[in-house]
Symmetry: C2
C-alpha cells in the first residue's frame, strides 16, 4: 500500500495500523483510544509509539491536536478547516463543515495578526437527551 508514501515517514507496521485506524475516523480519539484500538493487532504496542507517531503526523500537518476535552488531548485526522459540535453530557464531538463569516473588528484585534479561528458549538446530543427523558420518566412511576 503506497497510500502513505507521501508522508515521508518511516512506515512501520505499528504506524500503518495507527494510520488505518485514523483514516476517515470522525470520533476524535484520544491517545488511549488509539492505543486500545491498535493494541488488538499489536499487543506489544506502547504509548511511546502512539505519541511518537502522533507527534510525527502533527509535524506533517496530517492530523490536528484538539484542545476541546478538559481531560485529555484528542486527535482529528480531518485537516480541512471545520468547527465542532460538542455534547456537554457525553463529550461526543461532531464535525461542522459550514463556513462562518468571522471578521474581528480592527479595534478588537489588539494588534494581533489573526491566523485562524475555531468555533465550538455546545449542546446535548439526541442520545443523552433521550437518556435524560427515560430517567425522568422512570421516576414518575
Amino acid at each position: 500500500m503506497k497510500k502513505y508514501k507521501n508522508l515521508c515517514l518511516k512506515l512501520t507496521p505499528q504506524r500503518l495500523a495507527i494510520l488505518e485506524y485514523l483514516e476517515g475516523n470522525t470520533d476524535h480519539p484520544s491517545a488511549s483510544d488509539i492505543y486500545n484500538a491498535v493494541c488488538k493487532r499489536f499487543p506489544t504496542m506502547s504509548f511511546a509509539t502512539v505519541y511518537n507517531t502522533l507527534k510525527a503526523l502533527k509535524g506533517k500537518a496530517s492530523i490536528q491536536e484538539l484542545t476541546i476535552d478538559p481531560d485529555k488531548k484528542r486527535f482529528d485526522p480531518n485537516t480541512v478547516h471545520h468547527h465542532h459540535l460538542i455534547c456537554t453530557e457525553c463529550r461526543k464531538i461532531i464535525d461542522i463543515e459550514t463556513e462562518f463569516e468571522l471578521d474581528l473588528p480592527e479595534l478588537q484585534k489588539h494588534g494581533f495578526e489573526i491566523t485562524g479561528n475555531h468555533i465550538d458549538f455546545y449542546g446535548v446530543c439526541p442520545e443523552c437527551a433521550g437518556l435524560a427523558l427515560q430517567e425522568y420518566g422512570g421516576q414518575l412511576h
Copy 2:
C-alpha cells in the same frame, strides 16, 4: 467586606485571597498561577485548597473553566458570554466581547439541542511578532 456573601460559601482567609486575586483578572490564570500568587500571602496554601475553591466557585457559576490551553486548565472570572483571542506563540489569551451571529443550519445540528458556542481566534500577538522580527534581524548581520 460583604462583597462575597452572596456566594453562599464559607469565606476563609484563603478563599478571600483567591477571590481577590481573581476579581477583574483577565489573565486567564491556571491553578498554579493562582497558587503562586496566593502563596505570597499564605505560605501554607496548598493546591488542594486552590482546586477545592475553584470547584466551589465553578459550582456557583462564578468562574468558568477554560479548555483552551493544551497543557492545563485555565480559569476565567468573566462569566458574561465572550470569546477568546489566543496567541499561538506565548498562549496569551485576550477577551473578545463582540457578539457574532452563529446560527447552525438545522441540517447541521445532528439532532442536538444547541445550548451555546464559543469562538477561539488564533493569531500572533504584537510582542511575539516583535520578538520574531528582532531575532530575524539579528540573523541578518
